[in-house]
Amino acid sequence: MGSFGNDLFERGREVLGRYGYRPRAGELDFAGVWSTLAGDFPMAVPEWARLTPLQRRAAEEYLQIRVDADRRLEVCETMHAKLLQAGIDDGLVEAYAQAREAYEDTVEAFGRARGRLEQALRTG
């Protein structure tokens, strides 16, 4: 994906990488990434293979939304690079506003999915 012309974004994505972010990731390896996200919950989290069907569904939704957020973040960062290269104008500013609103909505959805998964982890 390149640097987007901005080192700070590189460093930010390294932090997200602790929690499973991979640039333009293809297939989802939910079991592989599960352990990196366990710290998001204020209780002990079972291994992937030990999740109940209800917990598994909630976990898959939570992980899928995180991946969607990653893709939308990449769209935002691409827009930053365009603004830097082409210059600021009405069209690009509004396109960036739409891109970041999509990212922001997905991050909010990620938070709600985390809450549902936490509930499922409590109830089993």
Partner: protein
Amino acid sequence: MKTYDKGDVLPDGYREALLNLMAFQADSEYAGGQRVAENMRFAPRPEEAYRLSKKVMEEMGHAYYVWNIMQDLGVDVDGRLRELVEHSDNPDPRKVKVINGFRKENWSQWFECWEDVALFSTVVTPAAVAFLGQYRECSFLPWARVNQRIHKEEHGHLAFGVWASKRCIEFGGEKTRAFMQERIPKFMRVGLGFYGRPSHGEAKSAMFDQYYEWGIKTKRPEELQAEYMELLESRLSEIGFEVPKGIEPDYDMRMGYGGEDENIQAAE
């Protein structure tokens, strides 16, 4: 109050004063986003990391909105963006107007842990909400409209601070609550000093009256400080913190987009 819209001829002196404050807002929104991005390293959990990343994108978006209007007034805003991206640690003050608090050498002194990140949004952001809120009613209508958009999102940042603080306590317990309570005063000094100096008395700001007369600033520092305290008290009480007493504002490190203590120097 006389108002001006896109394409209107602006009176002598008004344009320079307007651009001075717009440049402080736009350049500092972007630099603020950069500083928030640096705080990503403290994110202790996935949701915290994603929510902070969202905040970075918002702050930078606010800069783009304001730069876009400045461009209509004939300012080379692309050079400002380039300066901030290429010299994020120490941008040239002759090229951009970044408030003291968002300069890396000052900002980095305040942050040692994620609890500081949570407290900044809880304790300092209410000052930004109150301060930028006044521009929604300013006499330059394109800037007023953009700040209506920005104000809504700054409220979202307040919610982030409350959420992040509660999560710290949820995971760390009462020991963490006490640790955070002790750190509130350092951020409250910044919040109280956000608006610059008082509008009257010996310590009076040199330029405030002119900004106020033109309708570029629409509220006095004292009014903004009262709004700040109301927002702050409600947020601290929602989390279960006490409001510290006897805290003095830090004007030297003010975060406000004031610039009113300097002679007006337009951004070109």
